[in-house]
């Protein structure tokens, strides 16, 4: 009997073990999908439409990785205190992760150093002076391309003004530094239009209008969307024919590029920034993509576009977000 029962006993034990494993797997498969990860996308500025491309990219990545993105804008352009309060509020208020476009790189860096937040976070477009954890196009390359475009287009330019505003963002600061350090003809004739302490609270558009009136320049360079829109408004208000170049990608910039007030734009693929930024944040901290759902890992591209080529297929696809 012992001879008969011992192999059967072993088989029975194996079967019971197998049943337990199968039941565990079955129960696992019955469980609902992984919970949705709530991500707060805290950006600088108050214009949500300016972030449409980036938001769409982040939303698609969120869709791929079962997350939900909430875009949070500020009431002002770059009030670091407000952004810190938003970061704190979201970190404590149920967000699982934060994707931040830093309004003031130094202040935000200091805040995060002194009061570390307990949820994962990453930066898009503008970080804290460190490329680690930041998804952005190469700002230096963009600035170099801009200078080259100006140089190519304006053979006889003598004096250029660079609007220095929002340079507390590391992205803008890097662009500015690159422009100032680039060896180009007439570089000694580059002036900086920067509001002084008395003017800092006044509207930038008025400062720029005054500068346009008082100081004759061949080219005005804007290094971010806000500066670009302010110089556009100033030029339109003054009805002044000034050659505006810049790094921007807002609808308004595109519109005035179409209208030839803006001569050339360097714009980064913010859809990719949103998509890759959020993908990396989630993949590094929460869940992996399935093999078939992988995306191309590559640097964020940027393009130089002018009135003549802005309607080319490749450009219009990236410059004009699909409005849903």
């Amino acid at each position: 009997m012992k001879k008969v029962r011992s192999p059967i006993f072993i088989i029975a034990c194996v079967l019971v073990g197998l049943m337990i494993i199968e039941t565990a797997i079955y129960v696992q498969t019955l469980k609902k999908e992984d919970p949705i990860i709530q991500v707060s996308l805290i950006v600088y500025g108050s214009d949500a439409s300016r972030w449409e491309n980036l938001k769409q990219g982040a939303a698609l990545a969120a869709d791929d990785l079962n997350a939900e993105v909430t875009l949070i804008t500020m009431s002002g352009e770059d009030d670091a205190t407000e952004q810190i309060s938003l970061i704190r509020r979201e970190a404590q208020g149920g967000a699982d992760a934060l994707l931040i476009a830093a309004a003031d790189s130094e202040v935000i860096k200091e805040y995060l150093k002194n009061d570390p937040i307990k949820i994962p976070y990453a930066f898009v477009e503008s970080g804290t002076g460190d490329t680690a954890g930041l998804t952005s196009a190469d700002n230096a390359s963009m600035a170099e391309s801009l200078i080259k475009t100006i140089d190519d287009n304006e053979k006889d330019w003598i004096k250029a003004a660079v609007i220095v505003d929002h340079d507390r963002r590391d992205s803008v600061r890097e662009r500015l530094d690159t422009i100032l350090n680039t060896d180009v003809p007439y570089a000694e004739n580059v002036v900086l239009w920067e509001r002084n302490e008395q003017e800092v609270d006044k509207k930038a558009q008025f400062f720029l209008q005054r500068q346009l009136t008082e100081e004759a320049v061949d080219v005005v360079i804007a290094l971010d969307n806000s500066s670009m829109e302010e110089i556009i408004d100033a030029a339109v208000n003054l009805n002044k024919d000034v050659k505006i170049y810049g790094i921007a990608n807002s609808s308004k910039s595109a519109y005035y590029l179409d209208n030839r007030l803006v001569r050339s734009l360097v714009y980064q693929d913010e859809f990719s920034i949103g998509y890759i930024g959020l993908s990396d944040l989630l993949e590094n901290n929460f869940r992996k993509r399935r093999d078939h759902n992988q995306h191309n890992k590559r640097p964020i591209p940027f393009k130089v576009v002018d009135h003549n080529n802005m309607y080319e297929k490749a450009n219009q696809r990236l410059l004009f977000p699909h409005v849903r």
Binding site: M1, K3, V4, R5, I8, I11, A12, L15, V16, L18, M19, E22, T23, I25, Y26, T29, L30, Q56, G57, L60, S251, K252, A254, Y255, D258, R260, D269, F271, S272, Y275, I276, D291, H292, Q294, H295, N296, R298, P301, Y311, K313, A314, Q316, R317, L318, F320, P321, H322, V323, R324
Partner: protein, 601 residues
């Protein structure tokens, strides 16, 4: 190969032969049941998964048909707008005299949910009119735009563009529209002259996008749209594709015929269904990863495996239980027969149980064993009795020399006028014979046995002229106990012949009880005997016929052991030059008890 199979079959047969019936039943039934269940499970699962996949693909096809129908309707509406405006308005209007702006506005108003604009331009790119009314964008050359070039290239067709940003009119609020342009060459009448022109209907891309987005909201896969060149018109991840973040297999899908296909793309197997929209040549492509088609199947598969495992477990348990129930009585019966083989003929050991047939078998074997045991007992008893009779008969024989010598002594006594001594001797001889006969009973009292011994000693003393002295000391309490007759006399005979060598010879007979048994010792102070002789005396081969009656100690010992079961018989002790003691060990049974029960053990 055949050899190998034959060898395998042989091995299985051999393995089976070496196994118990329970093992064979359990394993065979289990194997058959498991294989059967697995085949059935596999067949059912295959059919089920095939059906699920088929249903999923059918469902995708239905969705695709629905989208196709919606898109077709939409496109036909747009073509209808273009047709009706061309054939009803443009062809009937002479631009030299009249304008068709009102009709265009009317048409736009009635279709504005799906349209961005309608415009008509001359063959050299001059805007005739457009609705909604809007200023032409400065510096834009219509003739260099794709829709215009297409219309001019093939004037007989209606052309559909891929989605693009409309670049014709001034827009307020920095608004740009993604449109799909439907353009056609038209003939304009101006002052009776026919001039070429182009009619453009810019369809709102959002309408197409919404149509597909709704389908893509739910479902396992997604649906996308591409033109006849494989360029994507709509894709749920269009921006990511434009940004080169992900890829789509649209160029391969372009070559597919309408219907369903299976493809491998990005390391994944996908079910692709293609449907071409008439006229435009656009293709709607439904893509569903096959893993998604069968995602619900994985649960079913695991569930089926659990059920299958449970069934196998139950089958094995059932088989073990049933085979045990069936074979356990057989096994127990087999064990009984094995005991029988080993010589245990106790019929109680034969197992009777199990099914009717096995019970019958058990009963038959038990009856057979019972009969065998009876036969054997009878045989043993018969042999024993025969042996007893032989030994008793042997014991009863009187040595003829003893009788001759005794009678010779009596004659000599009479001749020498010793009549009294002669009478005593004859009397002792008569008593000796009387006890020897004992009415044929072999069991007598110790008292009678000792009387017989005394008579014998009396005769021998006369014959040996009182050469030895006798001491008889019998415990009176044992005198009424049983003994086998004529067991002391042979011992005395030996003691006289081997121990009475001179006048100092003493023969002692002592009877006593110890530990509930009876002992009768016959001792002499003769020359004794060596140990090796002593050791052989009770063995059959050690029997020697000396100068005594010829009845050896062996005979006495055998008789005691035949009559009394247990550790009874003779014990011998001897020391050279000291003498020999022969001890009779008997059970203590009173003659009265023997007579009542007739049993000695």
């Amino acid at each position: 190969m055949k050899k190998k199979i034959d060898h395998l079959i042989l091995l299985i047969k051999k393995a089976y032969k070496q196994r118990s019936i329970e093992y064979i039943i359990s394993i065979s039934f289990t194997l058959i049941a498991v294989i059967g269940m697995m085949i059935m499970g596999f067949a059912l699962y295959s059919q089920f998964s095939l059906r699920v996949r088929k249903n999923a693909i059918e469902n995708d096809k239905r969705v695709l048909e629905q989208v196709s129908w919606n898109l077709n309707t939409y496109i036909r509406n747009m073509m209808g707008v273009s047709d009706s405006f061309y054939y009803s308005v443009i062809k009937n209007t002479d631009l030299a005299k009249d304008s068709f702006i009102n009709e265009m506005d009317l048409l736009y108003e009635s279709n504005k949910n799906n349209l961005v604009s309608i415009a008509c331009v001359t063959g050299d790119g001059a805007l005739i009119c457009a609705s909604p009314v809007s200023g032409r964008k400065e510096g834009v050359d219509f003739t260099k735009q794709e829709w215009f070039e297409n219309a001019k290239e093939k004037i007989e067709n209606i052309h559909f563009s891929t989605p693009h940003i409309q670049n014709m009119f001034e827009n307020s609020n920095y608004r740009y529209y993604w449109v799909v342009s439907l353009s056609r060459a038209v003939e304009l009448t101006r002052g009776g002259n026919i001039q070429p022109g182009v009619l453009l209907v810019d369809m709102d891309f959002s309408a197409i996008e919404q149509m597909f987005a709704k389908v893509n909201e739910s479902g396992r896969g997604y649906v996308y749209l591409m033109d006849r060149d494989g360029e994507i018109i709509y894709h749920p991840r269009q921006r990511a594709i434009y940004s080169d973040l992900i890829k789509e297999n649209n160029l391969a899908a372009l070559k597919y015929e309408d219907g369903s296909h299976i493809e491998n793309f990005g390391g994944e197997e996908r079910s692709v269904i293609v449907k071409t929209i008439g006229y435009t040549g656009w293709k709607i492509v439904s893509v569903t990863p096959t893993s998604q088609l069968t995602i619900s199947l994985s649960q079913t598969r695991i569930f089926m495996m659990i059920i299958l495992t449970l069934m196998i477990f139950l089958v094995i348990s059932g088989n073990v239980f049933i085979s045990s129930k069936v074979t356990d009585p057989l096994r127990r019966l087999d064990e009984s027969v094995k005991k029988l083989e080993e010589g245990d003929f106790t019929d109680d050991h034969i197992y009777i149980g199990g099914t009717h047939e096995i019970m019958h078998l058990g009963r038959t074997i038990r009856s057979m064993v019972s009969q065998m045991r009876k036969l054997m007992d009878d045989m043993v008893k018969e042999q024993r009795d025969k042996r007893k009779s032989e030994l008793d008969a042997l014991q009863s024989q009187i040595n003829p020399h003893f009788l001759y010598n005794t009678l010779d002594s009596v004659i000599w006594m009479i001749e020498s006028n010793r009549y009294k001594d002669a009478i005593t001797m004859v009397t002792a001889l008569a008593s000796l014979f009387r006890i020897s006969l004992s009415k044929g009973d072999n069991i007598i009292t110790i008292r009678d046995e000792m009387t017989h011994a005394q008579n014998y000693l009396s005769i021998q003393k006369v014959r040996y002229k009182n050469k030895f002295t006798t001491i008889i000391d019998i415990d009176p309490e044992i005198e009424d106990c049983c003994t086998i007759k004529l067991i002391v006399q042979p011992l005395l005979e030996n003691a006289i012949y081997y121990g009475a060598e001179d006048e100092d010879s003493v023969i002692t007979v002592k009877g006593y009880q110890k530990d509930g048994d009876i002992y009768i010792e016959v001792s002499d102070n003769g020359m004794g005997m060596p140990q090796d002789v002593l050791d052989n005396l009770l063995k059959e081969k050690g029997r020697t016929r000396g100068k005594g009656s010829g009845i050896g100690l062996w005979n006495v010992n055998q008789r005691i052991q035949l009559y009394f079961k247990g550790d009874y018989g003779l014990q011998l002790e001897s020391e050279l030059d000291e003498g020999t003691t022969v001890r009779i060990h008997l059970p203590r049974i009173t003659y009265e008890d023997y007579k009542k029960g007739g049993e000695l053990s």
